[in-house]
């Protein structure tokens, strides 16, 4: 097991390094620096600014400094746009917000999705099954950027029950709409995968054996059918995680929650490269780590996998 973990890490770390180097090269080749504005600055001022941010150094020195700072001290350098703030400050401010509603969305999508899928599979071809299938087909075409305006339309403008934006330190009524908008389509996908996987498992021989032994149905589901059912769900969690972290960008912008996504898009419009790169690398690292965890869980659950 330890060897397997080490081998996976040996792949994950170069991938991250490639991501860092690649995004730095992209940024370096970009035409027009972050300080080129409509009114050109005097050359002395420009030289001063470039010296301050180290932009006057040769390419190899810049990239070496950047990679070294990122990998050894998690230091993404200063922001070009917000004076006197580093990228780390911005991440420290925005990330907890994103993490809060991202965590709840993930938990809700997984728990509701799996329960809905299992319930539908057990009561196949009853009204419960049809409702679950209907919900999951319907929610498939409602990605976060369609859900978000519709939710605000209904709950904020029409009913006036919930605030349509803001964060206020994460009070529950400010969290509900972002979480719902982010979680719905993933909940639907997880429910669909769970249902078809459970139906497949329930038709296998070992389940028939368990039934023939006269085990109670509940025990069959929980003890025997659950583990193999969850395997395809588990392999969907990686893509779902990427999708949610991507979706959080939109949620941040649309609900003005103040998470990292809002800074990301702002920086994209203002060409604040260091912030964009910092967030991209952070998200890349999170994704790679999450995929690693999923793979380990998979290896642990599935006895057929040799590591």
């Amino acid at each position: 097991m330890l060897g397997y973990i080490l081998r996976r890490l040996a792949i994950a770390i170069p991938v991250l390094l490639i991501l860092v180097v690649l995004s730095f090269i992209l940024m370096y080749t970009a035409p027009g620096g972050p300080f080129n504005s409509d009114r050109p600055l005097p050359p002395e001022v420009m030289a001063n600014i470039e010296a301050k941010y180290g932009l006057d150094q040769p390419f190899w020195k810049q990239i070496a400094t950047y990679v070294w700072n990122v990998t050894t001290q998690f230091d993404f350098g200063p922001s070009f746009q917000y004076k006197n703030r580093t990228v780390n400050d911005i991440i420290a401010q925005g990330f907890p917000v994103t993490l809060t509603y991202g965590f709840w969305s993930f938990v809700i999508a997984v728990t509701f999705g799996i329960s809905l899928g299992v319930a539908a599979a057990i009561r196949q071809n009853t009204w419960l099954d049809y409702t679950a299938v209907g919900i999951s087909i319907g929610a498939q075409v409602l990605p976060n950027f369609v859900m978000a305006p519709l939710l605000i339309m209904f709950f904020t403008l029409y009913l006036g029950w919930l605030p349509g934006g803001g964060w206020e330190g994460g009070q529950w009524n400010y969290v509900i709409l972002p979480v719902t908008a982010l979680a719905t389509s993933y909940m639907a996908s997880i429910a669909r995968i769970t249902r078809s996987s459970m139906l497949e498992v329930l038709n296998t021989n070992f389940i028939r054996t368990a039934q023939a032994k006269g085990l109670p149905k509940q025990q069959i589901i929980v003890r025997h059918a659950m583990k193999p059912t969850l395997m395809p769900v588990l392999s969907y969690l990686g893509p779902a995680f990427v999708g949610m972290i991507t979706g959080s960008v939109l949620i941040d912008v649309f609900f003005s929650t103040g998470g990292i996504g809002q800074y990301f898009v702002n920086s994209a419009f203002n060409r604040d490269y260091s912030v964009i790169m910092g967030i991209t690398i952070l998200v890349g690292a999170l994704t790679i780590m999450f995929n690693l965890v999923v793979d380990l869980l998979y290896a642990w659950i599935d006895p057929k996998i040799r590591y």
Binding site: L22, M27, A30, N144, V146, P149, M153, V253, T280, T287
Partner: protein, 307 residues
Amino acid sequence: MLLNRNAVSQLEDVPIEAVKGRSLWADARARFFRNKAATASLFVLIALGLFALFGGLLAQYERDFVDFTLIGSNAYKGVPSIETGHYFGTDSSGRDLYARVVQGTGISLMVGIVGALVAVVVGTLFGASAGYFGGKIDNVMMRFVDILMSIPFMFVLILMLVIFGRSIFMLFVGIGLISWLDMARIARGQTLSIKNKEFVEVAVATGVHPLRIILRHVVPNLLGIVIVYATLLIPSLIIFESFISFLGLGVQEPNTSLGALISEGAEQMQYGLTWQLYFPIAFFVITIFAFFFVGDGLRDALDPKDR
């Protein structure tokens, strides 16, 4: 003689035709058209395509014509109506929403279809080659795909859009870069089983060039499954593009796509221009639904696994 002489002589006149065999494709077509939801969705898609191509002819206004007489009063004077010629109403700046929805649908469809074509060509060839050559080559090629897949691509794409400028062309490049990854995996998996079939062995034994084997013997046998996944890929690419355009980073004014239109509608809904949200969302949802159903129908018809 008990036989009716007349009937027999009539039978003699019937020209003896060769018994017509049903090809696999004819079989699949029959199976597809037996699926009512898929058939209906196919017609919906054709209608949407015609709408995007020729719907502009019905528009009473150019899509970038601003009706200055409506400024400040779009919320009640710009209501959808046949009489004013604004079938879908006007948007907040007094432009005809119908003409813009026609263009938005067209661009969204184009993004999906072009992206899927790239996926079909690149992904199939890449996957088929990896699967056919096997061994080290396969290992390296698929590791490359794994690495690309583990990067949160939306962030990298936004970084690229910032650096190289926001344009439809960059959007196509970005979508082309990722859309083929899944297809490559699917094609590889299928190739692994095809390459052990007798007809490939015969081709190898008679000294056919490997590239020719891939193109003439492997790829045609992948076609069914490739078509299914290409159809299912289109809606996810449309969602992908709409997401970026919703953030304002994709298609730029005066051009528009469904995502950009939904975003504009979401900004305006609190001022009473609800139609500006509902029409784009309706077209978006119908498009995605139709592609999903057609894809499902094609899978039932073509995928040998579920027969």
